[in-house]
């Protein structure tokens, strides 16, 4: 049998699934004792170029409350043309169309390599995709100009039959009519008054009898949502003529921004016209909502927007109300399968903390930048419309994930709405069998993930992934279980739990909880003599786990110091949706070192890696930092790279840039690119991430030759952390 490493990799490649434990404990108590819950990271729409979708409907178990999909793990009686459901054991006859099957003539869904299979289903006419732009006009002139250009550009990226709509807002909210003839029309709503969905529809459906052309296939096409191919000229002009919000902003005031009402109009419009259709609301904001429902801060500049400090002091006046407002909206949107993106570009906070649920609950993107006039925004926005190997958008709509488990729980269903190929969900399972009635030995636990979604080419699709793991008795097979531990997946899964807790609990409580879990895990699986920290040892399958936890504790996902509430929300938003690799980068950034001494190499994320004659490239997912060591920086300043004789130096300087470029090209959202050097102010991005093994506190105490760069911090280093952990793990009193 292959190693667990290989097994895990193979599973991830084929099914997009990574489990914390690849052998499952057979009872609830045992599961609890493992500390890290039985859970998995699942990427529902993992890109599988090698997996052509099949053009028929899945075969479902006939039991009404089961409806599991026929899969390779089912027992099949080819002669009787009967299959047994591996979830409820119901024996099901095959449908008539399967009459020709036999051992040598099996349908795809029975073949082991199709543990993940995608069905294209035909269910009536497929509605086109909908893109509804909701644009803040309280922007600086050049920001608005840049945004307008980006929006105009995006029109060319949309499929021609997609429906587009435009809502602009400032002090008022304007819904633009996109029909082609005559005067440009828009419906205007006051930004201070919440409108019911009905009012919006009433407002919209007035004034003119339905046009016969609209009475065709899609009865619901309104004049606010029109096919791109019909209105792109119009819309381009409309965007071109878009002006900054004309209402004067007095000195000492913020512009009045009716984000809440604008969203409510957008959500209401889609709700009324295209429920349960793939739709994307794209909200572009350049500042916080300052009036009406969902207001985050008042328009007085002398009152600053809430900080973590205010929140902890319960001093954030609008926080609860606004959050509640946006949550209600997010829920409405989710019910209808519409997703909401937020593109927030401003130097100050924009209220992401309150609004994050809009994207989190609907599977939308959050992109945060300083200005719309930056390549960060422009490229990221363009990447929203990136296409896959088939030329289809890397986005799917109206996703519904259903999970069927055997022996663990019943069926659960979640609405994900917007999904893209990298969307990765963490699922936590519970073993329901009591300790005295464990799952019988030698059996296999089966889990089936059924993801229904609307593909970006408007097809309705169902992707089914069925996986199985062996049950193990925790008493006798603890070694096996230990070796089935996936520490990378577990670190991410525990981190997600931590982030989840951090949303509702105080920061220190979360850290304490995380520490306790780590200590318990070490106690459970570490090998040590009681009260002897030096004897502590972890097996290979757990060896990296504490280090992940160390970096997680320092990460912006759990530390709010130096981050605004908006930034924290932003980081957390991305953390809980990226796949395992990206998540690990976020927890523990990767550091490459470039020097004349050899090819680029990954180095420890440690202050000792910061050396004068090196160039470092750090990838934290959100930032890409290129750091030139002291000597390199001096050489570069002296301009050696310009001289022909120092061509090699030029090459050295270019090497990290090329590597960075590669990452910049592919990542969504595009990371912030930082080029800095020893002593540069931006070097803080690197210094705050590395393990502070050398600080001003221990610099001279070691009496060694200085290698690396001391960090001015009181944070504990990994060494101290580990020492402490060992002490606690072996302590008999803990």
């Amino acid at each position: 049998m292959a190693t667990y490493q290989e097994f895990i990799q193979q599973n991830e490649d084929r099914d997009g699934v990574r489990f914390s434990w690849n052998l499952w404990p057979s009872s609830r108590l045992e599961a609890t004792r493992l500390v890290v819950p039985v859970s998995c990271l699942f990427t529902p729409l993992k890109e599988r170029p090698d997996l052509p979708p099949v053009q028929y409907e899945p075969v479902l178990c006939s039991r009404a409350n089961c409806k599991a999909v026929l899969n390779p793990l089912c027992q099949v009686d080819f002669r009787a043309k009967i299959w047994a459901c591996n979830f409820c054991f119901q024996r099901n006859p095959f449908p008539p169309s399967y009459a020709g099957i036999s051992e040598v003539n099996q349908p795809a869904e029975l073949m082991p390599q199709f543990s993940t299979i995608e069905y294209i289903v035909q269910r009536g006419p497929t509605p086109p995709l909908i893109f509804l732009y909701v644009v803040d006009t309280c922007l600086e002139e050049e920001d608005l100009q840049a945004l307008k250009e980006s929006l105009q550009m995006s029109l060319s990226l949309l499929p021609p039959n997609a429906l587009v709509g435009l809502i602009t807002f400032g002090r008022m909210v304007q819904v633009h009519e996109l029909s082609c003839e005559g005067i440009a029309k828009s419906y205007v709503f006051r930004g201070t008054k919440d409108l019911s969905s009905k009012q919006i529809q009433v407002g919209g459906d007035k004034g003119r009898p339905p046009q016969p052309e609209n009475a065709g296939v899609f009865v619901f096409i309104t004049r606010f949502l029109q096919p791109v191919h019909r209105v792109d000229m119009n819309l381009t002009d409309l965007l071109g003529e878009l002006q900054r919000d004309p209402w004067p902003v007095p000195q000492g005031k913020r512009p009045l921004r009716s984000t809440g009402v604008a969203l409510s109009v957008a959500v209401g419009l889609l709700e009324g016209t295209f429920p349960n259709t793939g739709a994307r609301v794209m909200l572009f904001i350049g500042g916080p909502p300052t009036q009406g429902p969902g207001m985050v801060v008042g328009d007085e500049l002398k009152t600053p927007i809430r900080s973590w400090h205010d929140i902890q002091k319960d001093n954030a006046r609008h926080l609860k109300k606004a959050t509640k407002y946006y949550e209600a909206m997010a829920n409405r949107s989710a019910v209808n399968g519409h997703c909401i993106d937020i593109y927030a570009c401003a130097l100050d906070q924009t209220g992401l903390l309150e609004m994050k649920c809009l994207s989190n609950l609907t599977g939308g993107h959050i992109v945060m930048g300083d200005s719309f006039n930056t390549s960060l925004f422009k490229q990221t926005f363009q990447r929203v419309f990136s296409k896959d190997y088939n030329g289809d958008f890397r986005m799917a709509f109206g996703g519904v994930l259903e999970v069927k488990e055997m022996g663990i729980g019943g069926t659960s269903q979640w609405k994900v709405c917007g999904i893209n190929p990298s969307t990765t969900l963490a699922l936590y399972f519970e073993v329901v069998n009591q300790h005295n009635a464990p799952v019988p030995q030698g059996g296999r636990g089966v889990i089936q993930f059924v993801t229904q979604y609307q593909h970006s080419n408007t097809q309705r699709r169902i992707r089914v992934t069925t996986i199985a793991r062996n049950w193990a008795d925790a008493q006798s097979q603890i070694q096996h279980i230990e070796s089935s531990f996936d520490q990378e997946a577990s670190a991410v899964l525990m981190a997600r739990l931590g982030v989840f807790r951090a949303e509702s609990e105080e920061g220190p409580d979360v850290l304490r909880w995380l520490d306790r879990q780590l200590i318990r895990l070490c106690q459970k699986f570490g090998q040590f003599n009681k009260d002897d920290p030096t004897s502590f040892k972890l097996s290979e399958s757990l060896s990296l786990y504490p280090q992940f936890m160390f970096h997680l504790r320092r990460s912006p996902f759990l530390q709010v110091f130096n981050n605004s509430p908006d930034e924290s929300s932003y980081y957390r938003h991305h953390f809980v949706r990226q796949d395992l690799t990206q998540s690990l980068i976020m927890i523990q950034p990767i550091l490459y070192s470039y020097s004349f001494h050899g090819p680029p190499e990954p180095v420890l994320l440690d202050s000792s890696s910061i050396l004068p004659d090196r160039i470092l490239l750090m990838d934290t997912f959100f930032q890409l930092v290129i750091y030139h060591g002291e000597t390199i920086a001096q050489w570069r300043k002296a301009g050696y790279q310009e001289m022909a004789e120092y061509e090699n130096f030029k090459q050295l300087l270019l090497a990290p840039l090329d590597d960075a470029q590669e990452i910049l090209q592919t990542r969504f959202p595009m990371p912030r690119y930082i080029d800095t050097e020893h002593g540069g102010s931006q070097a803080r991005f690197l210094l705050s991430k590395v393990n502070p093994s050398q600080t001003h506190n221990n610099l001279y105490a070691w009496g060694q030759v200085l290698r690396g760069a001391p960090i001015l911090t009181d944070d504990v280093s990994l060494q101290v952390f580990m020492d402490h952990l060992k002490k606690l793990a072996v302590s008999s009193s803990a």
Binding site: M172, I183, A184, K185, R190, Q199, G203, R208
Partner: protein, 839 residues
Amino acid sequence: GLLLVKIEKMLPATRHSLAEFSLLTLLFYIFTLFLYFLFCPVLHNLLDKLLNVKQASDMPAVQKSRHRIDPDAIPSPIQVIEDDRAKCTEPFNTGVRGQVPPLVTTNFQAKDQGNASPRFVRCTAYNVPCTADMAKQSQVPLAAVIKPLATLPPDETPPYLVDHGEAGPVRCNRCKAYMCPYMQFIEGGRRFQCGFCSCVTEVPPHYFQHLDHTGKRVDCYDRPELSLGSYEFVATVDYCKNNKIPQPPAFIFLIDVSYNAVKSGMVNIVCQELKTLLDYLPRENPEMDSVVRVGFVTYNKVLHFYNVKASLAQPQMLVVSDVSDMFVPLLDGFLVNVNESRLVIESLLDQIPEMFADTRETETVFGPVIQAGLEALKAADCSGKLFVFHTSLPIAEAPGKLKNREDKKLVGTDKEKSLFQPQVGFYNTLAKECVAQGCCVDLFLFPNQYVDVATLGVVPVSTGGSIYKYTYFQAQSDTERFLNDLRRDIQKLVGFDAVMRVRTSTGIRATDFFGSFFMSNTTDVELAGLDCDKAITVEFKHDDKLSEETGALMQCAVLYTSCSGQRRLRVHNMAVNCCSQLADLYRNCETDTIINFFSKYAFRGLLNNPTKAVRDTLINQCAQILACYRKNCASPSSAGQLILPECMKLLPVYLNCVLKSDVLMPGADVSLDDRAYLRQLISGMDVTESHIFFYPRLLPLTKLESGSLPMAVRDSEERLSKGGVYLLETGLHLFLWVGASVQQELLLNIFGTQSFSQIDPSLTSLPVLDNPFSQRLRDIIESFRAQRSRYMKLMVVKQEDKAELIFRHFLVEDKSVSGGASYVDFLCHMHKEIRQLLS
């Protein structure tokens, strides 16, 4: 001289007891009505046949037999008018205190010599009783009808503009009266004593001037405010709202685009006309472009605002569907300069009719429409005028939503008054807000059914605006009238955000005001807009004794923003005599003004009193006036004789006209909307307009001379000759009555047809024929129209045609179908009332 009407000779019935008189009269009434209703056409034919043989004079003999009073023997309005015309040969100098000016029907030139011209101010009495008791005894109302921005004929000088510099107009320290000819300079010119309150005020150094030997300032005749009755001051920033020089005003056009509005053609007509009309926005200097900015809104159940910014290639429409809480969706580009945005505006006006050509929306809102205009003016921080073109009862869900409450059954009951009151309080509140912003509303109505003018009119009436009503509007026949009204309404001189204050000398006080305005306290008349056609009637009461020596003074000051955006004060001064003899009062009063006052007083009374009570009060007061005269002034004569003062000899006939008006005595075919409309219309009328409205001008057209008009005849069927053609003018309508046996020459000259039957009764204008008669007649019609503030549509009435009923309604000396008494009957009735009072 006095006019003695010897009743005994003419009406034997008066000799009988009271009971007999009533019985006889009653029987006669019943008989006439019976004939009228049942045999009207038949009767006419019969009578005509008889008459054709017998008729010797142009007076139908049979009429004489009906009333045994010779109508020629009772006071004739035509005679009074003609006498006054004949008397008036020289310009009227306003300098003589207590002098009664020529009648409104007389053409005269006024020369301002220290009192306001009668074109600006007319009083009921030019000799005011010295004491309150005297005034009460006489019951003659003391009132002035003021038309502050009246247009003057070309041969009269408009008020001069006076600038007293940075300190503003010189005023009395105590009562704040403005510098005027009644200020007495003392102490060598260093101080002046106020003619109103007697307070002595220092003359500001920059205004100092020496006095001559008579005590007059030597610059007296160089300064309008020292020598004239009417003039204007330039107001300083202290006189501006929020101490800010006002922005130029704006005109906002709000056009109903519901189904009815589009179908009737109104939308198209308005849009087409506005394209040219926008070049004629009011301006003070004809050389300059108007500074008035314009904005456009269309609406049905929702409102559409238009961005017509000059930089746009196409106008943009912004729809506001949430009408419950109105707001203006745009700032920049809504109110624009016509010249800068001309192309965009023209494109918009071309597209509006197209855009709504297929509309099926029938419901409209109204409250939010005015709110929208108001909010737009607020946002632009200026005053202005809204032109609302509206068709139907606003039943769509919105603030100010109305329901149909027209209930003919209530007419004549005590509940009738509620029909004149607004249905909801919303519009009163809204009107108040409009006035505060200087937002005047002109309402053009195009109803096909009840629209509740009483309620819709609240805002226009309270803001100094006008209501125009085109019932059953049809593009073909009504366009001319509507467009002429619209043109005039847009072009006419208008002031904004005005406050009028009437100050009086001690002993007398302005107590009541009638007209289109709003008052938040008892002294300041607030007018969001004030145009050259609006008149305000002010009633005065004594609060002390007056002296014959000083007379009574009145100063009316109107602070307003001119259409060029300048803040100004227009001052009209008026001094009248005070008398201790009642005879002086009766000798120097003006019946036309009294009627103007009475009509406004009565029409306002309708809001709170049953119609019958209002009518009775009027009759009673007039009877008291005349009885008081009889008792105190007339030479002794027998009790059966009706004696009327010369100046008031038309009071009964005119009063009867007021009592018979559609407002106070509606016929079956008069709608509630019509009555509410007339009621509101009259509240802003000046004496000229109210005179012609109550006693229309009836001109026989048999012979027309160039240069002079034919002499009018009295408004009675008796005066009409079957062989003639008559023109009747009411100020609102023009009728051309054609007798059944009209001379063929007249037919040919006027209509170009051979026979009576060929006349097309649907004609709204006369054919242009190449003969002097036709030319002259059309000129007369044109000149009549030019004199009136509203365009009079011409209606051709053929004798014995159905339409004649409408025409006859205006023959006010006759009995009316709705039960109004004839002049003769009413005179008898008044006589009876007076006798009762005297006995």
